[in-house]
């Protein structure tokens, strides 16, 4: 442990990016100070990934119970006990939090609790005490954004933070934003029995994903009774007793109990002394080079404050990278394109690499080949009664440069796809190897077989 005068690495923010940097730096023999004003684990553990996925699992259990008869299981679904759901969710978070606190100790990281402010390129002040570091890592993360003039009041107009704390299932909800967070909450609430309408300004749900994925999500949401309006902009909200009336630019209005604002997350960088220390900021984000160095020598940034994908595992990768870089290990930079993305609504969406449109834009229409394998041909997916596909995007005569999956549980399959993408595998290199039967992972195998010109269970 270092004295206040100098940690090898001083990290501001103890979320996914910050604590990963801390652990890896400590493993590499560096002394580490980690400053956190709330709880180690940050957004992901306490207000993001973990609690939302607990809700999504409860939603899956509810759907299973409701639909159990089609599997020959006699069940009567009697409703959601929101206190029970929350106890389950909070129990998971508490357990993982306890584990993480143990890791902070085990890794001999000095945890400095409090609100930190960068007061010099090598110093952070916390509650009047100044801490110095030979290297400083900024990892202050992100928070929910809203639209201009749309105030989040925390009860009728809420963000994901309040949505996670609700002690009831809203009878109805408007979800503003059809991106990851929006569709996840829409999916949960619908499974819990709410009337849900998503409003998305772009022309399709999950607009960051391949267009084919959006289509399946929209079709399935329609079947599930999740309403959505795409290509329509939000105009305003009126608060009433017991609800809100949301108006859209096309003149339509929607009444609902709550409005969830899920229009994205903005970086937490204001008032933290970053600009004063000379760090270049662009639209609130910290600007870095590919080695995550800010404009000030010795100061790095990781995670959601760095422009790009806002994902916990990108934070982990950033944190590990910076620690290794500081330790002189010369690690290879993190490539956002190789980072797998999962949207955990029902159906799940998972992808890595380029979408078909992106690939064509980069390489030209005639240099791109795609193949879509429908899960209708996949035994295990049939057993789960899920629909979707595995879609491959390849460079003609070259490697697989994009993998897109839709369907129940496909989030677990993207790990394999991620190796295929990052290892620049050719379709026939994957096709040589046979996937276990009957699994959903076979869909990836079949898609590669087909793309390699040797389809097995594929209808023309």
């Amino acid at each position: 442990m270092a004295d206040n005068a100098g940690f090898d690495v001083l990290i501001l923010g103890g979320g996914s990016g910050g604590y990963a940097a801390a652990f890896r730096a400590s493993e590499l023999g560096l002394s580490v100070g980690l400053i956190e004003k709330d709880k180690v684990g940050g957004t992901c553990l306490h207000y993001g990934c973990i609690p939302t996925k607990a809700l999504l699992h409860a939603a899956e259990v509810a759907d299973n119970s409701r639909d159990s008869e089609q599997f020959g299981v006699k069940t009567s679904f009697e409703g959601i006990d929101m206190a029970g759901v929350n106890a389950y969710k909070d129990g998971i978070v508490a357990r993982l939090y306890k584990g993480l606190q143990g890791l902070v100790k085990a890794n001999k990281v000095t945890l400095i609790e409090g609100d930190g402010k960068l007061v010099a390129p090598n110093a952070v002040e916390v509650s009047g005490t100044r801490y110095e570091g030979r290297n400083v890592v900024l990892a202050t993360g992100s928070r929910s954004r809203s639209l201009p003039g749309l105030e989040i009041d925390g009860t009728q107009v809420i963000s994901s933070y309040e949505a996670l704390g609700l002690d009831r299932v809203p009878a109805s909800a408007v979800v503003l934003g059809g991106g990851v967070i929006g569709v996840e909450f829409a999916s949960v609430w619908r499974s819990f029995g709410a009337d849900v309408t998503i409003v998305e300004a772009l022309p399709r749900l999950v607009p960051a994903e391949d267009e084919a994925a959006s289509k399946v999500v929209e079709r399935t949401f329609r079947k599930r009774g999740i309403g959505f309006k795409t290509g329509v902009r939000f105009a305003g909200v009126e608060r009433r007793d017991g609800g809100v009336t949301v108006s859209l630019e096309n003149g339509e209005t929607i009444d609902a109990e709550v409005l969830l604002v899920a229009v994205g997350r903005g970086p937490v960088t204001e008032g933290l002394g970053y600009e004063e220390a000379g760090i270049t900021i662009d639209r609130g984000f910290v600007v870095t080079d590919e080695r995550l160095r800010t404009s000030v020598p010795g100061v790095y940034a990781v995670g959601d404050i760095v422009p790009g994908l806002q994902l916990a595992h990108r934070g982990f990768a950033h944190g590990i990278f910076v620690a290794e870089d500081i330790a002189g290990r010369g690690p290879v930079p993190v490539d956002d394109l190789g980072i797998p993305k999962v949207t955990y609504c029902d159906p799940e969406v998972a992808s890595v690499g380029l979408t078909e449109a992106q690939a064509k834009e980069r390489l030209g229409d005639d240099k791109v080949e795609t193949l879509e394998y429908n899960l209708a041909g996949n035994g295990k997916s049939q057993i789960l009664r899920t629909q979707g596909f595995a879609k491959l995007v390849r460079e003609k005569d070259g490697p697989v440069i994009g993998v897109h999956l839709v369907g129940a549980r496909v989030g677990e399959l993207i790990a394999e796809a991620q190796l295929i993408y990052n290892w620049e595998a050719l379709p026939h290199e994957v096709a040589q190897l046979i996937h276990p039967h009957p699994t959903q992972s076979e869909a990836l195998g079949e898609a590669h077989l087909a793309l390699a010109g040797k389809p097995l269970h594929v209808h023309g």
């Binding site: 389950y88 909070d90 306890k98 584990g99 143990g102 928070r143 954004r145 989040i152 990052n422």
Partner: protein, 105 residues
């Protein structure tokens, strides 16, 4: 995009009621909460550092391709992100080596 006025400031996060949830009736595994949840039991202490060229980014497919073509990976400059050695770099190196060998002595 302007920062919205009434963001739930992170401060609010810290002071908001943290409902621990009714744990009393929880299943017995909750009791194990006292234990750090994750354990890893390396039967052999894993070497802290990867052996060999652990810090250069090579994929097994590239490594094999290099071996096939007799290319020494440390002599290849990668064109991938951060100098990653890509398959095509190895193939290019193999081409170059072939061309060099074909050069009259």
């Amino acid at each position: 995009q302007p920062e919205p006025q009434a963001q739930p400031a992170p401060q609010a996060v810290a002071t908001a009621p943290q409902t621990p949830g009714p744990q009393a009736g929880g299943p017995s595994e909750e009791v194990q909460l006292a234990q750090p949840p994750s354990t890893s039991t390396p039967t052999v202490q894993p070497s802290r550092e990867p052996s060999g060229n652990g810090t250069t980014y090579v994929t097994p497919l590239v490594r094999k391709l290099a071996a096939e073509h007799g290319i020494d990976l440390t002599s290849v400059s990668g064109t991938g992100i951060g100098g990653r050695v890509r398959k095509q770099d190895v193939l290019a190196a193999a081409e170059a080596a072939k061309a060099a060998a074909a050069q009259p002595a």
